[in-house]
Symmetry: C2
């Protein structure tokens, strides 16, 4: 498929030309073929006039648990411990593949409608998520965060469910869809596993050249208990076992200390900030200025929708900007709208090891259009300010993932929303929540 976008105003996220206007953007197959002021030669199967619209790279949601869309708002108002133990874990215990497929499709629909083209997801029944993502059309790094509560002395990879899940996920889905899917090695968190698991997962990552995806220092108590138990932080104890050798994602990073950020900077690990979830569960605010000053890359994620309760990355960007600048901006100067947009696009792409998140020739054609004639986006004194502080996901009028338009003017082109709703209401919710 070849598509030509004309009269394009684009926030490119390319440092040399952050905003272009009146340009042509041509897409051939899954890549951007050209971006520039001249009408490119050749025939195009479709020409899209972008007058009144703004193009930007598709959003990268760098830490999600997409099937948790089924639990949107479930157990709201509880503290983290009660919420997990009394609501989320019992619900998750009832999940089967069919539930996970329905929940993943629902979460992906919400993400696609609000402009996301690429995610890093960590959950269970990951093979089912892989199939659903392939159909939906966006790119995903998938991870089945290893959990192990057994006696470390009894650990054996042959008997560990999540080790077997790693092998299966990698063999079945790594690089599926010509790279649309990738598999990340993954440990759920320091506090839900133990050294033999870390050693095995690190070895698996080394063997196959995989990046890593781990929850790190989300809460103060998690961070402090690790210090008590091992004498070092979660980042550092995992490093001893080689977990960070290929870089990857450290989700949350609210409570790094004692050289953690410098270590992550050296290892090429990105801190994925989840401000809404961290506020909702009263975990804290990750110190982005400090992480950045230590040389760390920072990206953005929604976390699972059960603790958010939305997949809207525009909302996540605004919350990140407001809370960070309020909490730390006086001492550091404000994070700019461009900084925040970078977190949600090009930095996220880098965290996932993907050549996207920028509107430039040769990049994967992941891009969205927003309707800037909407009353909440007009007038426009500064495009980036409007994107970060005024837009919401509903302003997205087109989502192109890997060169294919998958959503346009309210219509899903790869997913059947009515069918998804019927499956969630008719199968998943009764199974999990007993007839709700």
């Amino acid at each position: 498929m070849s598509i030509l976008f004309t009269n394009v105003t684009a926030v490119t996220m390319s440092p040399d030309q952050p905003v272009l206007s009146g340009v042509f953007v041509a897409v051939e197959g899954i890549k951007i073929a050209s971006v520039g002021p001249e009408h490119p030669a050749g025939e195009f199967e479709r020409v899209i006039d972008c007058t009144g619209k703004v193009m930007m790279p598709g959003l990268v949601n760098a830490h999600t648990h997409v099937p948790m869309a089924l639990m949107r708002g479930y157990g709201g108002g509880c503290d983290l411990h009660t919420w997990l133990n009394d609501y989320i874990f019992p619900a998750e215990a009832k999940l089967d593949d069919r539930c996970v497929a329905a929940g993943a499709a629902l979460g992906l629909a919400e993400m696609i409608a609000s402009g996301t083209t690429c995610i890093a997801d960590m959950y269970m029944n990951t093979g089912t998520i892989a199939k659903t993502v392939l159909e939906a059309g966006i790119s995903a790094n998938l991870a089945c965060g290893a959990v192990y509560f057994g006696d470390p002395a009894d650990f054996s990879p042959e008997k560990c469910g999540d080790c077997k899940n790693h092998v299966r996920l990698y063999e079945d889905w790594h690089n599926a869809g010509e790279g649309q899917l990738r598999v990340d090695a993954s440990i759920h968190a320091e506090y839900t596993s133990c050294p033999p698991v870390w050693e095995w997962v690190a070895g698996f990552a080394r063997e196959h050249g995989l990046r890593m995806h781990v929850h790190v220092s989300e809460t103060a108590s998690e961070h402090e208990k690790c210090l008590e138990k091992y004498g070092v932080t979660p980042a550092q104890i995992l490093d001893r076992y080689g977990v960070w050798q290929n870089g990857g994602i450290a989700a949350h990073c609210v409570y790094l200390s004692g050289g953690d950020a410098e270590l992550f900077a050296e290892r090429g690990v990105t801190a994925v900030h989840n401000p809404v979830s961290n506020l909702k569960l009263m975990s804290g605010v990750a110190p982005l200025f400090f992480l950045r000053d230590c040389g760390m890359q920072t990206a953005l994620g929604t976390d699972g929708v059960a603790s958010n309760n939305s997949h809207d990355m525009f909302e996540e960007m605004k919350t990140a900007a407001l809370v960070q600048n309020y909490s730390f901006g006086e001492d550091h100067g404000q994070l700019s709208a461009a900084d925040i947009l970078a977190m949600a696009t090009v930095n996220g792409a880098r965290a996932l090891g993907r050549d996207t998140g920028v509107i430039a020739a040769g990049k994967i054609a992941d891009m969205i259009l927003l309707d800037f004639t909407a009353p909440n986006l007009f007038p426009c004194h500064d495009i980036m300010e409007n994107l970060v502080y005024s837009a919401n996901g509903s302003n997205v009028c087109m989502n192109m993932a890997r060169g294919k338009i998958i959503y346009e003017n309210g219509t899903f082109l790869t997913l059947d929303l009515e069918k998804i709703r019927a499956e969630v209401a008719g199968y998943a919710l009764p199974r999990i929540f007993g007839g709700k």
Copy 2:
């Protein structure tokens, strides 16, 4: 006009029956005629099936400067002082009636599309705003916040522009549209005026039985400078001149101290919380739990869009909930979704002295419908959680203000958005910003 809503699921904000489902809601003229499980007798000009939708009271934006929609995102990234002096004040100096009308219409369009049915606005050229609001169809308490930088000894109401504005606004517009408009007496703030002004405005309010609308203790420096200058807080110095005698709105209240909250509680003054603006300008977070414990009523506003940069009250609710619960929730227990919804509806109505904000027979028919089949609002484990944490303004599919449907499925029925955009782009922006 008589309209019957059938198959209604309603968040009523009535404490005895907060959520109803399967009910009929009948509207006659500007009021709700009945709410209940029985089909009401009589003929209806229109019947609206609400299957898949949720009804709630229209949102009350209790502190706005609506024409500032023209300055959306203008001067973003500056501190308050630079932002006001280098960007906002010079722009405002160029406003004329025609600019204000265009900006007000634009801001109202954004508000209406995102579910607001009632506002408390403080701005200049207020007569022009009055005309625009009357056409748009929502209810408004309008105020022309008195500013006076002259020598207090020289003050005379005959020579004070904002005193004359008070008189004109009251005479021309108070109770216009059978109460659709009301006029509030108003002092911009303690630091932008002086005792003779406060005395005059308080007298004017007493004479005409008007409520008051004032910016109070928005920043620490404002609060502290007042303590230095007068030995008491802004709330208290204004009280000495009788400013709070009829209750009303104290916008912001980030830094109350020394009995301010108790004083406001006694005077029937509502604290209007503007969390997004307060974070964006790095002013602080109003301590809602503390205000509530002192007996104060709290409501919610967006403030002007130039420091937000959105009029979406759903976003404001979520930010309020997240930031309040994170900042103070551990010691006080969380504000519930119901508490937040009350701030944005019934509490706001009370702050404005209006009999709305509740879905119940006899109330003004200000109500909205949200599409709960949207992928971001499904599934629904708890309607109030979904409204506060998952919804955004774009989920609003109908806005009824004073018994009249003014917005439905993306179409404005009282405003011409294309004409408004043309007027903003063709007249207002060139006049204010010189050709932008």
